[in-house]
C-alpha cells in the first residue's frame, strides 16, 4: 500500500467513506481474540439485566474498525500514529458502523491531524471526540 504524498493532503480532506456491519459472531470472535469476555457483549439476558437493550459491541472493536478505516485511507497501519475517542453510545449486533474523518491540520513533517468519529446506521453517534494523527510521505 502506498500512502498519499503529504503535498496531496489538505485541510478539509475526508477519509475515504468506510462502513462495516457488525454481527454477534464478530463480537464473539473479538471476545475470544482479545480475551474480553464481559457478558454485556455475549449474553443478551445479562446485558438486559444491567439496562442495555441487548448485547453490545466492545468499544475497542469499534475503535479497531475506525483504525482500519483511517489506516486504509492513509496507506497502512504503520502510518497511523495515534487515535483517541470517547465511547458515547453502544453499537448493537446487526448495526452498521459508519466511520468518518476530516483533516484539520498538516504540519511541515507531513503529519496530518484529523477529527474522526463513527455513527451507527440507526443514527447514534457511537464514537465521538475522536482525534487521529497520520503520517504521510514527503
Amino acid at each position: 500500500m502506498t500512502a498519499p504524498a503529504a503535498a496531496d493532503v489538505a485541510i478539509g480532506d475526508a477519509v475515504t467513506p468506510f462502513s462495516r456491519t457488525v454481527t454477534q459472531e464478530q463480537i464473539n470472535a473479538y471476545a475470544d481474540a482479545s480475551g474480553d469476555h464481559n457478558p454485556i457483549h455475549l449474553d443478551p439476558d445479562f446485558a438486559r439485566s444491567v439496562g442495555l437493550p441487548g448485547t453490545i459491541a466492545h468499544g475497542l472493536l469499534e475503535m479497531g474498525i475506525l483504525a482500519d478505516a483511517i489506516a486504509s485511507w492513509a496507506g497502512g497501519n504503520q502510518n497511523l500514529l495515534s487515535l483517541s475517542c470517547r465511547f458515547s453510545k453502544p453499537l448493537l449486533p446487526g448495526d452498521t458502523i459508519i466511520c468518518t474523518g476530516t483533516v484539520t491540520s498538516v504540519d511541515d513533517a507531513g503529519i496530518a491531524t484529523l477529527e474522526v468519529g463513527a455513527s451507527s446506521d440507526r443514527g447514534d453517534r457511537v464514537l465521538t471526540n475522536g482525534r487521529a494523527t497520520v503520517r504521510f510521505s514527503h
Binding site: M1, R20, T21, V22, T23, Q26, A29, Y30, D32, A33, S34, G35, D36, N38, V50, G59, L60, L61, M63, G64, I65, A67, D68, A71, S72, G76, N77, Q78, L80, L81, S82, L83, S84, C85, R86, F87, N129
Partner: protein
Amino acid sequence: MPDQSHVGRRYSAPGQRIAPEAARAVAAAIAGGDPVREAESVPPTFAAVYCLAPALAQLFSDQEVGIDLAGLIHGEQSFEWPAQVHPGDVVDATAEITGIDTRRGMTLVRLAMEATRPADDTVVCRATSLMIVRAPA
C-alpha cells in the same frame, strides 16, 4: 471503592509477547466479513491486548482498589504508537492510576499505560483509559 488514595498505584506486566496468531485473530475479528487488510501486520488497536489488558487485569484484581466490574463502563481511550510492533516482539507493559474522581454517583478512574520493547529500548505504545464505575443499584 476506588478513592483518591489509590492515585499513583502502579502495575507492571513485563514480557508480553506479541503472538502472531493472537494478532491475526484480532485483525480477523475487526475485519468481520471483510478481508483482513494487512495480514502480516499487527493491528494498531492490538495494543488493547499487549498494553491495556495486562494493566486492567491487575487493576480489576486489586482488592484494595475494589472496582465493581458489574458497574464498569469503558468511557474513553487513547493510543499513541511512537513505533510499530511486529509479530513475535516482546514488550513490557506498565500502568499507573492517574486520577480518581466522583461525579453524580459515578467514579471515574483514569489510567496511563506504556509498552516498551526492551530489545531496542523503544516505546511502542502510550495509552490512556477512562473507566467509569457506576454506583451499585
